[in-house]
């Protein structure tokens, strides 16, 4: 395949291996000017590797790579940037200690001299206004003080800012993973506007409706190869899932719900003393969803419930042991220097110890059990947690909570950036564990996940504004409550 005049990216037979793992195994991939390509596939299908090869952060072992008509012989972030490639990486890549403006400044080495920070400030704020009107972010705010949703807005807006080098291709890797539906819609609309002006876009998302709604063409990757490619209009959800998974079609998760009226109450958030405006009840065996726009107090409520388990809180009653599955796994989840096994076992150390010493045998047995139950893909549980793909790291965090003695599992948007196959596995496991009497309280930014819940509470500005039963849970109801039209 040769690079035509209008091709921004033309990769042919590109291969890249990490040890024995063939991350890319002969990939042909083309993006034309003014085209938005959706890239979907499992975690570990090779999307991130492909994207990194385009962005110049990694080299490849074989194959021909052309970007904007120029053959790449070595990898260089600087060269890719010069050729017009911009990338939002899946793991948030802002400096948390710097201001929004300073972060923008760092990605524009051409802005120099006195006043460059001020110009960077103007640049990023203008772009934020353009993409996310009403964003409420100031250029002098420290990024670490922003909510994760706003951080992602800054990160996305930053790749669209232009100083000297032209922008030809923007790679958005899970750009909406922390955005609420409002901001997501703003971003998708902006992407379409940018594409209309001739910018190309590679859009990676596990939210298939986003991919279907905003791309021109879809490339499905599986096992380091391009499995299927075709115009977006020829795809629907079922087809996409089938192409990704390869064998089974998507399972529907509308599990028959039984009322658990007589089950003991596990968590109660009271109206009078709490910050919440409504009661929240969670009984044994229930799966409770928390929803609403991102960063409206859902995570804080989870933290409060967690703290109430060990410290008296007049507004919150918790009657059983608690474990948390973190969403922001880099910050709150993994211990990066530990092995997979140690990461799983850390919540259960006292159960695994005898005479104050950790029993290696028990620990390993527990790890193996949960590796099998969750299908954590690693040759050895003794490997570093960072050797796992993002989805598998998240599975390890699930294993940590589920392997513990906790009867209440709090989940803080744990499926961010996790592939659909993993999600389906975990949903099934959650149902199974709930049937055994565990209580799940689940904050999620994805509507489809709420269908797993017995009851969904919608939060707005830190207060519970609506309680929806399983039958009432749909996008419309949640949106309506989130925006305060009706309770």
């Amino acid at each position: 395949m040769t690079a035509g005049k209008t091709s921004i990216v033309a990769f042919s037979a590109v291969a890249k291996a990490y040890g024995n793992v063939k991350a890319l195994n002969g990939v042909d991939f083309v993006v034309d000017a003014g085209e938005c390509v959706g890239l979907v596939g499992h975690n570990g299908a090779g999307k991130s590797t492909l994207v990194n090869a385009i962005a110049g952060t990694i080299g490849t072992d074989a194959g021909r790579r052309t970007i904007a008509g120029q053959d790449l012989t070595e990898h260089s972030v600087v060269l890719a940037h010069k050729l017009g490639v911009r990338c939002v990486f899946q793991e948030l890549s802002l400096c948390p200690n710097l201001t929004v403006a300073e972060n923008a400044r760092i990605s524009h080495p051409s802005l120099t001299g006195w006043g460059s920070l001020r110009r960077a400030d103007a640049l990023i704020v203008a772009k934020l206004d353009d993409i996310f009107p009403g964003h409420g972010i100031r250029g002098d705010q420290i990024v670490g003080d922003l909510s994760i949703g706003r951080r992602q807005m800054v990160e996305v807006a930053r790749v669209f800012t232009q100083s000297v080098d032209p922008i030809r291709l923007v790679i958005l890797d899970e750009p909406t993973s922390s955005l609420d539906s409002h901001a997501s819609a703003q971003l998708l609309a902006y992407v379409r506007r940018a594409v209309a002006t001739g910018v190309s876009c590679i859009f990676i998302s596990h939210l298939l409706n986003e991919v279907l709604a905003s791309t021109d063409r879809i490339v499905v990757m599986r096992d380091g190869k391009v499995a299927v490619t075709g115009a977006t209009i020829d795809f629907d959800r079922e087809k996409l899932v089938a192409a990704m998974v390869g064998i089974v079609s998507a399972r529907q998760n509308s599990v028959a719900k039984q009322r658990r009226g007589d089950a003991p109450l596990r968590v109660a958030v009271h109206k009078k003393h709490g910050a919440a405006g409504n009661d929240l009840d969670a009984k044994a065996g229930e799966i409770i969803g928390l929803s609403g726009l991102a960063a409206h107090g859902q995570s804080n409520l989870l933290v409060r419930i967690f703290q109430a388990a060990s410290r008296r809180d007049r507004g919150v009653d918790v009657t059983a042991t608690v474990a948390v599955v973190a969403g922001d796994r880099q910050t709150d989840g993994v211990f990066p220097l530990w092995s997979v096994l140690e990461n799983i076992a850390v919540r259960s150390l006292s159960a695994l110890s005898s005479y104050a010493l950790i029993s290696q045998e028990k620990q390993r047995a527990m790890g193996e059990t949960w590796r099998q139950r969750l299908g954590i893909r690693t040759p050895d549980l003794g490997n570093s947690i960072l050797s796992l793909s993002g989805g598998n790291q998240q599975k390890a965090l699930f294993a940590r909570a589920l392997a513990s003695d906790a009867q209440i599992i709090l989940m803080d948007d744990p499926m961010r950036g996790v592939d659909i196959a993993t999600k389906l596995e975990v949903y099934a496991l959650i149902q199974e564990e709930a049937a055994k009497g565990r209580t799940f309280i689940w904050y999620t930014t994805e509507f489809e996940e709420l269908e797993n819940c017995d009851r969904v509470y919608v939060l707005r500005n830190g207060k519970i504004v609506a309680a929806l039963d399983h039958d009432e849970v749909n996008e419309q109801n949640v949106i309506r409550s989130s925006f305060g039209e009706a309770a």
Binding site: N97, D145, S181, H182
Partner: protein, 327 residues
């Protein structure tokens, strides 16, 4: 869904603003509040100390401490730690009272060479991915040994120009205060207001992100260590300018004093959160605490180091309380 969403303007941010800003502001103010409290306590115990002469005496040692603190701050900015700073200062001080006094050219060459070694250490730490604590701990012994070779017994003589520089008196405002303010301002502008300053701090915050944006981490770390070397030299020179003679152990306490100054000034060991103004304020606070307050309180010298530690813990506890306020 999007039509419902985008139809109504969302202004969900304004109530959160006050809280967004406040911890940062309090945090920035804390080092200066500590310094003001320290001065108030001294003034209460000994009103005569709060005078032109009093400040000149109490704060004379603040200049070398502030410079050493700034040196350490550059290293902490890029997520490293320099445990050799004190002995490096001892070595430079020893060279200053011997070679720099007797054969100025040789002295200058040796000092320049020492700064070059600092830069090389920075490169080594980055290229070999070594823990800076271990490397600089090793270097501490090297500098100490070299200092003893240059100046086996206390003595020597500081160059006359250094002594006269440190004896400068400025009208109305005590010289140490002028010098400290100047140091703080220059470093603040360089680190907080320039583009490359943002890159240096960005490395402390998220090194991978800075590298992906196309900046050389090696370049930045070498620069940070070079600046640490330069400010270490300045600290040593001002120190011998005050003491007029040298001692191979003259800077021994400066390693921990400088680290304490950075932390007291609002900095953190990891994450690129530093403040030049705060660091200088922290250095002044520590100097005042050890030299004046504790003496005025008639605390025996044996206990003063411990009392200094208590001050540090109190301030850090206050900061932790600020951090824990809900966002």
């Amino acid at each position: 869904m999007s039509s419902t969403a985008s139809a109504r303007p969302v202004n969900r941010t304004s109530p959160a603003r006050w809280f967004d800003l406040s911890p940062t502001l309090l945090r920035t103010a804390l080092p200066f509040v500590s310094l003001a409290l320290m001065l108030a306590a001294i003034g209460w115990l000994n009103p005569r100390a709060i005078s032109y002469m009093g400040f000149n005496l109490m704060l004379s040692l603040a200049i070398p401490v502030a410079l050493a603190t700034i040196a350490q701050m550059f290293v902490i900015t890029v997520n490293e730690l320099d445990l050799s700073a004190g002995f490096f200062i001892s070595f430079i001080a020893s060279v200053s009272v011997t070679m720099l006094h007797d054969t100025p050219l040789l002295g200058i060459a040796v000092i320049a060479g020492a700064v070059f070694v600092y830069a090389a250490i920075g490169a080594l730490i980055h290229l070999r991915n070594l823990p800076s604590i271990v490397v600089t701990l090793g270097m501490a012994f090297v500098w100490q040994g070299l200092a003893l070779m240059v100046l086996p017994q206390p003595g020597g003589k500081a160059p006359a120009w250094l002594q006269s520089f440190m004896a400068v008196h400025v009208p109305f405002v005590p010289f140490p205060i002028v010098a400290a303010a100047a140091i703080a301002l220059v470093v603040h502008l360089a680190l907080m207001k320039t583009s490359y300053g943002a890159v240096l701090r960005g490395i402390g915050g998220n090194q991978a992100a800075v590298a992906r944006a196309g900046w050389s981490i090696l370049h930045a770390k070498v620069l940070a260590f070079t600046l640490a070397g330069v400010f270490g030299v300045l600290s040593a020179l001002t120190l011998v300018g005050l003491s007029t003679a040298g001692d191979a152990n003259i800077g021994a306490g400066y390693t921990l004093l400088a680290i304490a100054g950075v932390i007291l000034g609002g900095g953190e060991f990891m994450g690129g959160r530093v403040s030049a103004m705060g660091a200088v304020a922290g250095a002044l606070t520590l100097t005042l605490a050890s030299a004046s307050l504790l003496s005025f309180m008639h605390i025996p010298t044996d206990w003063q180091t411990g009392a200094n530690g208590v001050i540090l813990i109190v301030v850090l506890a206050l900061r932790a309380m600020i951090e824990r306020r809900p966002k």
